[in-house]
Assembly symmetry: C2
Homo-oligomer: 114 residues x 2
Amino acid sequence: MKADAQALKGHLDVLLLATLTAGPRHGYAIKEALRDGSNGRFDLPTGTVYPALHRLDRAGLITGSWSVVDGRRRRTYQLTAAGRRKLAGERAGWHEFARAVTALLEPDPWPTTR
Amino acid sequence: MKADAQALKGHLDVLLLATLTAGPRHGYAIKEALRDGSNGRFDLPTGTVYPALHRLDRAGLITGSWSVVDGRRRRTYQLTAAGRRKLAGERAGWHEFARAVTALLEPDPWPTTR
DNA sequence: CGCCATAGCTAGGATTACTACCTATCCTCT
DNA sequence: AGAGGATAGGTAGTAATCCTAGCTATGGCG
């Protein structure tokens, strides 16, 4: 049944953008930063990360540039101005969302059944 | 573009289960409880709520029983034992998830770019 | 009477994250 | 020397989820 496969549930984009706040990174490094920064919780397959980065690129939130390091080709991404704005908004949105969900999950925010 | 349409991002099931902790409710009342309990943030279309309830029913997490009140047919749902267990687990899962995401969104959890 | 709230439902589309697979280089261990 | 792992990039196809848009029907209010 694979119930909890979808671990990120729509919040991947914010996290990817957030990894780039400290400076440009290439795709694989982004994947590692996410894994290490979450104590292994968000250890995403490349089949999740790369398409997501392409999506953000197409959306104009990040820009990628190719280079070759140690014989391996790399695509280094950095935030655009739009990406930075988006991140700020999503960050705020996340806090509101999290607050709302947490409140609803408390033992008894629910009025008695009518 | 309809960017932020998917408001719930995979956490609908927990919330639906949570609305039933206070006792059985019929579908429409569940929808209302979610809307009112979130200050209108989670005002979901019925096309989201009903299929989700059917899903939870098929999964054995809730059970529904028909009745007629004031000439209107109602389907009243209540948590099963499995549903209660699931809710407890998801509740814990949410807190871990939220903590991880929040931590990653802080200004600088990211080590300097290599 | 018309309209809204209540109460239930479905079909189809868009998006998302996943599995599973592929190429290629460099490094380490046997 | 060869095998395998880590690094680095990618795609195709699938499952799941939430949405839009539409439908039926009753009761009550202006």
